[in-house]
């Protein structure tokens, strides 16, 4: 049986499943207002103060499942009803304060924001600069850092707080990494879904031979399902109505060679190049280090490459990417890329669709999935891309010494970019992954476990193709343009 990591994931799943079920039944429009009563039947509330509040939140989540606010270009939104107005002030004096004599907190504060009143420390928030020195100074651990989890999670400071103490996303700063979506303990920040559009597409395709829906599945899926094996998952996706299921790792194989050759060229007149497969990392550079953008690889991502490959073979193809990533939802609509990958779903959404059809993955006969190489599949884990590039250099005997700087998570990316900007980088290729651990630890994965890497490695080692040259030999990739611009 499936386990949910937490209640937030469970609730999101319940709602996606109902929306999915009614879409399949063709009854969504008439049932949409009933979903809150189905998900929160009462009479007692499950999590919140009252049943009416819960139902209001559910109604908002239903809206997100149906695509969210069309006027907001960001694919991530704060659900106003669900945001619990966590404390705005970062440091608070707790009950543990003993009113000691030393007052280390008071002397540690650089702006004299702490006074002792009635034998207890008190913070004057009009003065506090949130430096945290008082917290470190207190011998009783009596000062707590209660920074909002969304703000703590956000690597770019894109989350602001409005007059009603609700979180608000500054779209200019947001890179769609999805960290807040995963970290908000109230599930108040969510990604917009295309689940309704995809189900309607599959229903259309059933009736018409002119539409061929393809599911392309990110290699991170290897660590997602505890209760079914990979072959059963592929079978399950096909049963949803997809004509075929293709590994995005195959697109990664295409990119490995293309990006390596690009690197050779790029280094002739630049000191370094950065990867381009993680859309949140690319957007981070564009926002925070505009002077470095000319060093971003011009290669498209494996998602785009795989979509192009399929469309070069089947001109009736409609491509649906399924992955662990929120940023991919934004990537597919980027001006230069729009229309190549048609829809993006997450693993969470996939599971809701499968369950809404009553498909029991664990009982299915296995289908196969075996086109890509070990290296293409390893893209899902931090370091995989660099490994792949090093391999291409070796195999092709290229005259270049690739020294990768592997950045695991946005913090490390930021450090490397800062150094690169000053021309002090100890390397010539920055592999940037916004999520710590890589795609297998993406924000909308079903599973963030300790065995994920092992599971990915098993999937990688089960390939029959040794490298990208072998996995691609069957395809005619010579006419596929893998450049972004």
């Amino acid at each position: 049986m499936r386990k949910f990591e937490n209640q937030v994931q469970l609730i999101k799943y319940e709602i996606l499943k109902e929306v999915s079920r009614f879409t399949y039944e063709g009854k969504l429009n008439q049932m949409v207002n009933e979903i809150p009563y189905i998900v929160d039947p009462g009479p007692e509330p499950r999590y919140r103060c009252c049943l009416y509040h819960e139902r209001a939140i559910t109604a908002d989540r239903v809206k997100m499942a149906m695509g969210g606010d069309k006027n907001n270009p960001n694919i991530i939104e704060v659900l106003d009803t669900a945001c619990d107005q966590c404390p705005v002030n970062r440091y608070v004096i707790t009950e543990t304060c003993r009113g000691c004599l030393a007052h280390r907190c008071e002397s540690a504060c650089p702006v004299n924001a702490i006074t002792i009143t009635d034998h207890r420390a008190v913070i004057d928030y009009s003065k506090c600069i949130e430096c945290g020195r008082c917290k470190n100074a207190c011998p009783y651990n009596a000062i707590a850092d209660v920074m909002r989890p969304c703000r703590r999670a956000c690597p770019t400071g894109a989350i602001e707080i409005n007059d009603n103490k609700k979180a608000v996303i500054n779209n200019d700063k947001c890179i769609q990494c999805g960290a807040c979506v995963y970290q908000c303990p109230f599930g108040a920040i969510q990604d917009k879904s295309q689940i309704v559009e995809v189900i309607n597409l599959l229903k259309e395709a059933e009736k018409s031979n002119e539409i061929h829906p393809y599911a392309i599945i990110a290699p991170a899926f290897a660590s997602q399902f505890e209760y079914a094996n990979l072959g059963q998952i592929i079978r399950g996706i096909k049963l949803l109505g997809f004509k075929d299921v293709i590994e995005v790792a195959l697109g990664a194989d295409m990119i490995s060679e293309h990006e390596t050759l690009e690197l050779v060229e790029h280094l002739k007149d630049h000191s370094f190049m950065t990867s381009s497969c993680c859309p949140a990392f690319v957007k981070y550079i564009e926002n925070e280090y505009p002077e470095v953008t000319e060093n971003i690889s011009n290669s498209v991502s494996p998602m785009i490459a795989t979509s192009k490959l399929i469309k070069s073979i089947d001109d009736k193809a409609v491509v649906v990417f399924i992955g662990p990533c929120v940023a991919k939802k934004a990537e597919k609509d980027l001006p230069k890329l729009s229309g190549i990958t048609d829809y993006v779903l997450t693993f969470e959404e996939l599971v809701a669709m499968i369950d809404s059809r009553g498909i029991k993955l664990e009982t299915l006969e296995e289908a196969s999935l075996n086109n890509a190489s070990y290296f293409g599949r390893m893209f899902a884990s931090t370091g995989g891309l660099s490994k792949s590039i090093t391999e291409v250099v070796k195999k092709k005997k290229l005259d270049i010494d690739v020294v990768p700087v592997i950045c695991d998570g946005i913090k490390e990316c930021d450090k490397a970019l800062k150094i690169a900007k000053m021309d002090r980088l100890k390397g010539n290729f920055i592999e940037g992954m916004a999520c710590v651990g890589g795609c297998i630890k993406g924000p909308v994965t079903m599973h963030h476990g300790t065995k994920d890497v092992k599971k990915l490695e098993n999937y990688c080692s089960s390939t029959i193709e040794k490298d990208s040259k072998e996995s691609l030999r069957i395809f005619d990739v010579t006419n596929i343009d893998l450049n972004k611009k």
Binding site: I234, K238, D244, V245, I313, N370, N371
Partner: protein
């Protein structure tokens, strides 16, 4: 004549690559490049009976690597004569 060979996972495992290569060289050998278009395709819906090969809009046939020559003679050459 359009000949589609499935390169989906199940057929791939059973030897699509070899089938394509053999057909390619047979077509060249017989100078049929102008008459036969060899294409790859994703799933043709017959995963249990791979390698799936489809000529024009005919029914999907099974062609294992060892049967390529026979298939070429009866179905491709034969088909062109018909």
């Amino acid at each position: 004549m359009v000949v589609q060979v499935c390169i989906g996972s199940a057929c791939h495992l059973k030897g699509s690559y070899v089938v394509i290569q053999k057909l390619k060289s047979l077509i060249e050998e017989h100078n049929l490049g102008d008459f036969v278009e060899l294409k790859s395709s994703f799933c043709l819906g017959e995963c249990a009976n791979g390698v799936s090969v489809k000529i024009d809009s005919q029914k999907v046939k099974t062609v294992l690597p060892k049967d390529v020559e026979k298939f070429f003679e009866t179905e491709i050459l034969g088909g062109l004569e018909r």
